[in-house]
Amino acid sequence: MMYRSLFPRDLFAELDRLQREMQQSYEVSPSIRGLARGGFPAMNVGGTPRSVEIYAFAPGLDPAGIDVQLEKGVLTIAGERNADLPEKDDKAAVHIDERFAGRFRRVVSLPDDVDPNAVTARYRDGVLHISIQRKAASQPRRIAIQ
């Protein structure tokens, strides 16, 4: 259905219509920039019967400066990313400025069965991968039938 503004001069209605049309023309939303809504870094979370796996897409960080904390079932990833843009006094023109810069903090609440003492965190190719083991008691066990 076409969406038509009652007031052709209404700029916001026009923008709204444009946005709807854009969304309709793409079935998947491929833009990583759209993730600015969800915040930096973008995160993927998955689970296996033995562990919970968290991937934070946080490129260009100093691994020593990433703060990962696990407290009361809540995982917090925080840090700071410096802007690579040139200093103001340089005679440089900035044409595109899309990359995140500044302090960030993201929080994930974890399932109840994770073991806070069995956490590993690795930073590779700009992705922070945190793996948290589930407690042994909650893992599926095969029960022998007598």
């Binding site: 491929p30 990583i32 993927n44 979370v45 019967p49 946080a58 490129p59 843009l85 023109a93 700009g126």
Partner: protein
């Protein structure tokens, strides 16, 4: 040659890709581009300069357990791609690239003849 150029945009549209965010700035000597490509190992990053088109492509490789089920995905496609058109005064032969911790830094210098020159005004 012209066939190639015409086919490329269609191929790109067929496959959905992530658009990496970039910063681009220009100084007297050339253009510097930074692109965020987290999850791409060095050997999966592909840069092409063809005529006046710069293409940045990379495949994400994550170390995932085989039986993992995703419960939340913000990065839902395995590949990045972004294409830029270079302008005439840039020298595609001299592009240099660094890639570390998922950040690509490209430096595209201006061709010798396009470097800014101060023109002296003589009063006679």
């Amino acid at each position: 040659m012209s066939d190639n150029v015409e086919k490329k945009p269609e191929a790109a549209r067929a496959e959905a890709t992530l658009m990496p965010p970039v910063n681009v700035f220009e100084d007297a000597g050339g253009i510097t581009l930074f692109a965020d490509l987290p999850g791409v190992p060095k050997d999966k990053l592909h840069l092409h300069v063809e005529a006046d088109t710069l293409t940045i492509e990379g495949d994400i490789v994550l170390d995932m357990p085989a039986d993992m089920e995703a419960t939340h995905s913000e990065v839902s496609l395995p590949r990045y791609r972004r294409v830029f058109t270079l302008s005439k005064e840039l020298d595609p032969e001299k592009v240099s690239a660094e890639f570390s911790h998922g950040v690509l830094k490209l430096r595209i210098p201006k061709a010798e003849h396009a470097q800014p020159k101060r023109i002296e005004v003589r009063v006679e």
